[in-house]
Structures are given as C-alpha cells and as structure tokens.
C-alpha cells in the first residue's frame, strides 16, 4: 500500500515539475518574442510552413466535414420539419466548434509533428548546442517565431475551414437533398451572431498557441537519439490533441 502511494506521489511530482518546466518554456518564448531584434523573416517562413503547407489538408477535411454535416443535419432536422435551418446548423457547428477543433487537429498532425521531429533532430545532432555555443538563444531563434506564426496562421486556416465547410454542407443540402438555397443562407444570416465568430476565433488562436508550444517543447527537450525523436513526436501530437479538447471544453463553457 505504502509502495503504491510512493509511486503515485513520485508520478504526481514528476508531472507537476514537467508542467512547471513547460510553463516556464512558454513564458521564456513569449518574453523573447518581444525582445529585439524581431525575427520577421523567420516568422514569415513559419507562417508558410504552418499555414500554406497545411492548406490542402485543411481544405479537404473542411469540405468533407461540411458535406457530412449536410447529410447529418438534414437527417436530424427533417424529423422536426426544420430542413430550412440546415444552413444555420452547419454554420453554427462549424464556426463555434468543428472549424477550430478539426483544423487544429489537422495542423497538429501535419505541422506540429514535423515541428517536434525537426527540433528533436536538431537536439540529437547538436544543432541546438551549436546555437548556444554561438551565443544565440535557441528559444528566441527556434521557438518564439513558431509560436507567433502559429498565432497568425491558425485563425486564418480555421476561417478557411469554416467557409469551405459551409459550402460543403450547401452542396449536399441544396445540391443533393433539395433544401432551398435562399433558406440555407437566410437561416445562417439570421442565427449567426458576432459572438459565434468571436468564440471560434478565440479558440483557434489558443489552439495555435497550444500546438506550437507543446510541439516545440517536446521537440526541444527530446532525448538525443532516434527513439527520442520518435517519442517526442508521438507525445507532442497526443498531448496537443488532449490539451485542445480540454481547453475547448473550458472555452466553450465560458463563451457559450
């Protein structure tokens, strides 16, 4: 019994100290982001990596998510003779919930994992040590620009996901199932308010921070070996997914 308690205690302490290290890492990255010189070139490069390179997967997943919403929404609303509200249901679902969460998942899988693997490899091949030895702060050089880029790219990708998803649902609802085009858009126009867009925007902004923070932290502190890099990549994706869902719950409960 005592041994079990010891194990639980040790595990808890280890997790707490890991959380503390992660939080300090984030604070350092944010602090260094505001210290000159600004790494504009690097920020633009990472916006391209996170944003442009994830665009195809976000477009594809957004379109199919919208089409599924078209079918499922139509099926559910028909039971209440409310098919004309399909546009409203699809838009609210996408703007408030599915857009931010699913695009965050796509970016985590597409770019977050690559970020963790890249930094992990840099750790294993002493490139991070080389930056330290050249008196260059690797957190400022490698992490801060990625976090800023994540904050910029994630809301833009989410907006694209939302628009494509709404048109995906339109294609199915109006094109295949016969919902009137006018009622699709007028329902949307009458039910979507600024707070719905704002809530989705805030979620995507915080998910951008979570993905870049977690993936950079895991990669930056990867054990310097091949298995260390793969372990860091897996952990970064799993932890990002979990934190996205947990944070989504808190934000939803606050902003509903």
């Amino acid at each position: 019994m005592l041994s079990l308690l010891t194990h639980i205690g040790r595990f808890t302490l280890r997790q707490l100290s890991e959380m503390g290290r992660m939080f300090l890492f984030l604070l350092a990255a944010i602090f260094l982001a505001f210290r000159p010189p600004a790494k504009i070139g690097l920020i633009i490069h990472h916006i391209k990596t996170i944003g442009v390179d994830s665009l195809s997967v976000v477009l594809l997943s957004g379109f199919f998510t919208g089409m599924v919403m078209g079918f499922q929404g139509y099926y559910s609303l028909r039971k209440f003779n409310a098919e004309s509200w399909l546009g409203s249901a699809a838009a609210l679902g996408l703007l408030r919930e599915l857009g931010p969460v699913l695009s965050a998942f796509m970016v985590t899988g597409r770019t977050g994992s690559a970020m963790a693997a890249e930094l992990g490899t840099m750790r294993a091949t002493e490139q991070i040590d080389a930056l330290y030895s050249m008196a260059i702060n690797p957190i400022k050089y490698l992490v801060s620009p990625r976090i800023i880029a994540g904050l910029i790219a994630m809301p833009l990708l989410t907006a694209i996901f939302d628009v494509v998803g709404i048109y995906g649902a339109y294609l199915v609802g109006v094109g295949l199932l016969g919902v009137s085009s006018g009622s699709y858009f007028s329902g949307m126009e009458s039910s979507v308010v600024f707070n719905d867009v704002y809530s989705g925007f805030m979620k995507s902004l915080s998910f951008g921070l979570i993905i870049t923070w977690v993936c950079c932290y895991k990669g930056f502190h990867a054990p310097p070996m091949a298995t260390g890099v793969s372990q860091a990549t897996t952990e970064s994706v799993v932890l990002s997914f979990v934190l996205i869902l947990v944070w989504d719950y808190f934000l939803t409960s606050v902003m509903l």
């Binding site: 490139q127 080389a130 030895s133 050249m134």
Partner: protein, 248 residues
C-alpha cells in the same frame, strides 16, 4: 587562461566527472584523450558552460563562468568557437549561410564585408566555391571543415574541438589535424581538442591530458606525456586491454 577546478558531474546517478582539475595555457593546443565514453565531451562542454558542473569551478581569465548571469554568459560564449563532433551545421541553410550565421546574428557587419570574410574562411578550410551546397550534400570531412570555418568566423580567442577526426579515414584525419594546427598558428587561438586518435593528435598538441575514471590522470607537455611511465598513460598509448583502465 582556462582553469577547471574540482569539477564534478553526474547524469542520473552515474558519476562521469569526479573532481577534474586542469589548466589550459593561452595560445596553445591542449588535447584531452581518454577511452570512449570516459567523459571527454562532457568536460569539453563545461568549458563554455553548455553543461554546468554539480560542483566545482570553470574559470576563464579568473571569472567563474558557472556563476555568470545569462547576458554575461552569452558575452563569454562569444569568445569561444566550437567544432562539434558531427559539425552540427544547421541543415536548413547552405554552407555559406551556416558560416555567415554568427556574423548575421551577432554583428552589424555589412553584406559585402561579411561575404568577403565568409569566403576567406571557406578558402582557409579548402571549401572555396562550395558555399552554395547544403550540409546533406557534403562528405563527413567537408562537414568538419565547414564546421571549422563557422567556428573561426568570429575570430574567437578559444576554440573547442570535439573529436574532430571521428569517422574519418586516416588520410582525412591527418588533413583535419594539419588544418587545426595551421589555423591555430594563423589565428593564435587557445585550442582544446578532445580526441582518441593517437598518436596523430600528438603532432598538433602542445599539451596532453588523459581523463580516466572521472579524473585527470596525467597532464603534461606532449613529449613528456608520451614518455610518461604512468601505467594509465602507457596502457592508453599502447592500446593494451590489460592494465589500470577497465575496458570491459
């Protein structure tokens, strides 16, 4: 003058350095030899505070670098150049950009002047005209030379070489040794070389120290070191299995 005083370092309960004391003479090359995994690289990484000791001091011109604040430490690191074991070139950049990187990040040098300096360093290490290539396109020896060019581009007072010839054939290893000796004569830096390539490394060393079982067993001028009757030194030089150094 760099002085290492009673440095202890452990990793996860395994004690690697058990009270290392060693002086590095200014303007000379000191080589640290020892068996693989004995802690040579760990000791080297203490010299510019890439690792901090659990106990002990690392003094550079009588300043204990283990107690410096971050800003002072970064200024101190600016006095060092490091050639890492695998060269540690940034693989997203060309060789030219790798060598130019410290100049771009740490100085306000104009582009024409910087270009001239980088090309001069690439020439000195025999990589003229290769600046457009990426690290992945270079052989092991070329990577080491590019790493050396980067280590020298800021005109450092002290250069640390972590196993500069590991993984290279004997001819190339001799070439790298000669390059180190030639650049040391040209720039006059204090060199610290970690190596187990003997006896070739003796040719470029002014002093040699042997690290065994977590302590410096012997540190002498090269000729005296080679003539030492210390059984640890003799076993290492002769490559014998039997002796005070536990091999397996």
């Amino acid at each position: 003058m760099i002085r290492v005083v009673d440095v202890h370092k452990s990793f996860g309960g395994q004690q690697v350095l058990k009270g290392v004391n060693l002086n590095f003479t200014t303007g000379k090359i000191t080589t640290i030899v020892g068996t693989s995994g004995c802690g040579k690289t760990v000791l080297l990484k203490h010299l510019n505070a890439l690792l901090l000791p659990d106990r002990g001091e690392v003094l550079v011109d009588d300043i204990d670098i283990t107690k410096l604040r971050q800003k002072e430490l970064y200024a101190m690191r600016g006095r060092f150049g490091v050639l890492f074991q695998g060269a540690a070139l940034l693989d997203s950049m060309t060789i030219f950009d790798n060598v130019a990187f410290p100049l771009r990040e740490k100085t306000r040098m104009g582009e024409p002047e910087m270009r001239k300096k980088v090309e001069e360093r690439l020439d000195q290490v025999g990589l003229e005209g290769m600046g457009y290539k990426y690290p992945a396109e270079l052989s092991g020896g070329m990577k080491k030379r590019a790493g050396l060019a980067r280590a020298l581009v800021m005109d450092p007072e002290i250069v640390l070489f972590d196993e500069p010839t590991t993984g290279l054939d004997p001819v190339l290893a001799t070439g790298i040794h000669q390059l180190i000796a030639r650049t040391q004569q040209a720039f006059g830096f204090t060199g610290v070389v970690v190596s187990h390539t003997i006896p070739q490394v003796f040719e470029i060393s002014d002093y040699v120290a042997i690290l065994a079982d977590g302590v410096i067993e012997e540190a002498k001028p090269t000729k005296e070191f080679q003539a030492s009757q210390n059984p640890v030194v003799q076993q290492f030089i002769k490559g014998e299995i039997e002796g005070p150094i536990r091999v397996l």
